[in-house]
């Protein structure tokens, strides 16, 4: 599985979305499921999936799928 597929699946798992839900354009609070609680679970899911420890600033900056891709890049995960 590619990094991109793994990140999409992490979003679907954490936000309780169907397995085929499009997630690439998701933004915080645009999707009703992505609130502060789901954000906690999203950060934990991404950390587990990619074996990284995300810094505080990156946790509170991760406000869209695109932003998550950028942030993971900082931790050496090339999402494409």
């Amino acid at each position: 599985m590619t990094e991109l597929q793994r990140l999409r699946d992490a979003f679907r798992t954490a936000l309780d979305l169907p397995a085929d839900a499009p997630v690439d354009d998701l933004r915080y609070q645009d999707n009703e499921k992505w609130d502060s609680l789901a954000h906690m679970s999203l950060v934990a899911t991404i950390e587990d999936e990619f074996a990284v420890m995300i810094d505080t600033d990156d946790v509170i900056n991760m406000s869209s799928f695109t932003e998550a891709v950028r942030i993971l890049g900082k931790y050496g995960v090339d999402v494409k």
């Binding site: 915080y28 502060s36 906690m40 505080t56 946790v59 509170i60």
Partner: protein, 407 residues
């Protein structure tokens, strides 16, 4: 009733909009002739204006979650006849299938706003920020106690897991924040350091038991930054605050929820915590006809909590009489969950764990979504576990202790 001190301010952190007397007057004009207001209470200046207008006109308000469907509740409670003392109606023991309302009088709401402001030492210099929904009794109580003392309330909607929230804390020089237990887990994840927010003086905790190691940890963090942490205890039925643990006692009385509100008392009767004070509800309402009823409580609230008082009067909670759980600070009756769904329910730390026999993973996921919707709760607070067979006691009843031990 007027909760609004003339110096009080309400500001929207997202839009910069500020509450004005004109906005409240306009909302009041639009409410003329109403006997009861069903108010979806979002954290916006418009909602707060309608709320304060209704309170000023003595129109009772039913505070509702703006993101939920309340068709059934509104149909059930719509009436032209309400008791003259009635000010607020709040939902409780949250299931959307069986909405029961707590009836609060004007006197009780005002008394509790005053009690909270006094026990926390709220002044006109304070700036609170919304960390909780305003339709939830704890969020409502933060609003009331600050408006009453001429303080500022900043309305913020993104929440503590987003940059915008923390930017607003610094921009508006927030002095006070209120959190329920799961938010302390978030704060720990964010490595929250109060020293980063120089204006911050006070954090409060309520909405269920917070693990004592987290109480100690956050009290120490606040203390190191020259601030204070208050542990509090309440129920919607008490408008909602019943006890506060003063910051200087937090270490010596670790695990206690503190002393009763000013002018109130606790007694322990058959192990149950009984509260007497001016802020106790008039009673419950299960139908529209109940809204004309007067006071049925006489200032006495049997809390359903088990507890003990130490020799200095500090309250320690030890359990619940009924099988209740809390999910994200909202009370849930475990027996109700079991009546509605084919599951066995036990309470965890701020989580509902349900055990279902012999279902598949897809069914388990669907069940989680359904239970969350029915409770009006967040899906991450519900954990569905598939089990081959429930453990039983020798008498054939479910062995709940074994289930709890398996968590």
């Amino acid at each position: 009733m007027n909760l609004l001190h003339p110096d009080a301010r309400v500001i929207d952190a997202g839009t910069g909009e500020e509450l004005t007397a004109e906005l409240i007057d306009a909302a009041a004009a639009a409410l003329a002739g109403e006997r009861l207001l069903f108010l979806p209470m979002s954290s916006t200046v418009g909602s707060v204006a309608r709320y304060l207008a209704a309170l000023r006109l003595d129109v009772p308000v039913v505070l509702l979650d703006p993101d939920a469907d309340h068709t059934e509740l509104i149909a059930r409670y719509t009436t032209d006849e309400v008791h003259p003392d009635l000010a607020l109606l709040l939902t409780t023991s949250g299931s959307t299938g069986n909405p029961k309302l707590v009836r609060l009088s004007r006197a009780a709401v005002l008394a509790n706003a005053e009690q909270v402001a006094e026990s926390l030492g709220v002044t006109g210099d304070d700036v609170a920020i919304t960390t909780l929904p305003l339709f939830y009794s704890y969020g409502m109580s933060v609003l009331h106690s600050h408006l009453l003392r001429g303080a500022t309330v900043v309305l913020e909607r993104t929440g503590i897991m987003q940059r915008d929230f923390w930017a607003a804390v610094n921009e508006h020089r927030v002095t006070s924040m209120a959190f329920v237990p799961y938010q302390f887990e978030m704060l720990r994840r964010l490595r929250f350091d109060p020293a980063t927010y120089p204006s911050l003086r006070t954090i409060t905790q309520a909405g269920g038991r917070l693990r004592t190691d987290l109480v100690a940890e956050f009290a120490a963090r606040m203390d190191a930054a020259g601030g204070r942490m208050f542990v509090m205890y309440g129920q919607t039925e008490a408008a909602p605050r019943m006890a506060t643990l003063p910051p200087e006692q937090i270490t010596a009385k670790l695990g206690s929820v503190g002393l009763p509100m000013p002018g109130a008392t606790f007694t322990i009767e058959d192990d149950e915590v009984v509260y007497r004070g001016p802020n106790v509800m008039m009673g419950y309402a299960e139908t529209a006809a109940d809204l004309v009823k007067g006071d049925e409580q006489g200032g006495v609230l049997r809390t359903g909590d088990l507890g003990r008082l130490d020799d200095e009067g500090f309250l320690f909670l030890t359990g619940r009489l009924k099988r209740m759980g809390k999910v994200f600070g909202v009370r849930i009756n475990l027996d109700d969950v079991e009546r509605e769904f084919p599951v066995t329910a036990v309470a965890g730390d701020d989580k509902l764990h349900v055990f279902a026999e012999g279902i598949g993973a897809d069914e388990a996921r669907a069940l989680r979504t359904k239970i969350a919707e029915w409770l009006g709760s967040h899906f991450t607070g519900i954990d569905v576990r598939v089990i081959e067979a429930l453990p039983l006691l020798p008498n054939g009843k479910t062995d709940y202790r074994a289930l709890e031990a398996s968590l």
